[in-house]
Amino acid sequence: TTRTPSFLGLDKNAEFFPESDVATDVIVGVLDTGVWPESKSFDDNGLGPVPSSWKGVCQTGKNFKASDCNRKLIGARYFCSGYEATLGPIDESKESKSPRDDDGHGTHTASTAAGSVVAGANLLGYAPGSARGMATRARLAVYKVCWMGGCFSTDILAAMDKAIEDNVNVLSLSLGGGTSDYYRDSIATGAFAAMEKGILVSCSAGNAGPNQYSVSNLAPWITTVGAGTLDRDFPAFVSLGNGKNFSGVSLFKGEALPNKMLPFVYAGNASNATNGNLCLMGTLDPEKVKGKLVLCERGINARVQKGSEVKAAGGAGMVLTNTATNGEELVADAHLLPATAVGKKTGDELKTYLFSDSNPTATILFEGTKVGIEPSPVVAAFSSRGPNSITPEILKPDIIAPGVNIIAGWTGAVGPTGLSDDPRRVAFNIISGTSMSCPHVSGLAALLKGAHPDWSPAAIRSALMTTAYTAYKSGGGALVDVATGKPSNPFDHGSGHVDPVSALTPGLVYDMNVVDYLNFLCALGYTPSQINTLARRNFTCDSTKKFSVTDLNYPSFAVSFASQMGGAGGGGGSSSSVKYTRTLTNVGEAGTYKVSVNVPNSSVKILVEPQTLSFSQANEKKSYTVTFSAPAMAADTNVFGRIEWSDGKHTVGSPVAISWS
């Protein structure tokens, strides 16, 4: 990526992240669509021998040789037996039965996590700069589990099985499915085994935002990553015949539009199809769009396919408007024809103009790449949101990281749109999703692992979460949610936006081990059989002990009360109170930490005891309790707050999300 290293402060703080042998011994495993090994992002210049801990292989297959691996890309495997058992043999004329990435997604995520430095990177001139992954010195192992027909749990589990055996240190999965119980979810079960071996598992939260309860990969032993924007944009304005201009974004590069206003038409009026406004394939009437700019609306087919349809019908260009689903979030695409994407409000104004003017005209003005965009980051509208639909007492997502308009390495097999009719080939592409934010955190976790080899996955995750920021560093208040234009909350951003430089020295961490998670399963009421399915052991919950999910040593707080209308556990109509227990481990110097509590709603009481914790040596542990008390409130009410411990040098922050259901 060309901008996120500086956006995250990595470029100015290189000295904090040692380039020692320990750092180069960290191995990031990426489960995705494979890898394009010829990408310069996988150049191994300057890297020493493959770490002695590595047990993996570079698997040969169609268009992939063992020699395609090197000291950067140290492993590559593919898993398709489950896929083929269900869907039949892979069509090798369309995709490679090997670790080779014919899609681009896997090359993008792998290079984002741990790609080498590549000077002069850009996409068609956009987002130029020196590209690098987050952990440039870490090694990569790629596990291809996603194919044209999807990613099957049998293959994912097989890949996780091998990755654990291969000795990766971090696993990055930019994929997900529905929300089922942890013991039924292959990613959750595989991640449990990985966690037990000291492997941090980072997963994407999903792109089903801004709907509530839309987060996937909810298990507490997984680091769940939502998406935010960068301070970079690719403006392309729509200029109308009535003199008005509107902002949009585009990555188009090619033959410019004629230097004049063009006829402008609404796709819904240039088609005989019911959904003509969506510019689905074969729905536009060439006679009505030829030589014109066409206004299409988002929905059903891919954004770039709409541009392809306009082009195929003879249109000169496209303006693609969001609907209420996407609001004002602008995602740039490298369309095959001059095109720009605009928000819903702009789209509505454009439609008003189109329906009221007898001779509507427009043009698009492409402005290239702009940086320094404020405010940034903002939470992406598509980023999946809490509460946690399985365990409401565990706040998800955990954190957000850059995931909008991210440039990273790309496959040589398809063009930047991924369309079969796109003949272009690019070394880098710009795409968006929590798929893109997840490998940022995976790479940052690898950096922390290199700096602190003895830290557990929970400690690394804690460091990332408790040092994340929720307010703009330059002032200006709380991070904004682009879906609403208002301040975001912990159900949107979790603990906040990742800040890797602060995460390096968190002061204190909320550590956890396997027993903590087993006790959590007991608190969930799992049967011995369900625990065995998930944790691969006979484990009987001690019947003399009282287990509570509120005792899991999680770095954030989610409190779920029953609403006024009643329901179990909340004491409908009366006040409710619940106690959480946490333990902090000192990973810094000796010091005394004092707590501060911020909750804007005066009817909600948060009592922390004790209010001061003193640590005299490293690895010392101190516990505290938090009692949340509140009157019954209407269903769907949410109250947010924050608990911070500080010794004056470090701030160990935890978000609080209290909800009534």
Binding site: G82, T154, E165, G177, S180, S435, S529
Partner: protein, 82 residues
Amino acid sequence: GSGAKQTYIVHMAKSEMPAGFEDHSHWYDASLKSVSESAEMIYVYRNAVHGFSARLTAEEAESLGNQPGILSVLPEMKYELH
């Protein structure tokens, strides 16, 4: 139809392997063969979970779930890139 096959992930209680089996995969195979002569294992899992995956009919899956040492027989799920 009732004879249609689907992929399942079969979780085994490794500690319950009967004496006489040298390797867990042999026990897994015998368990599978006890409900379906024709079914073949797709993967044997050793680290992420204990068990295997195979194509089974719904009846075979239910029957397998009742065998000793079987913890769960869960249908395969499809995930998608984010």
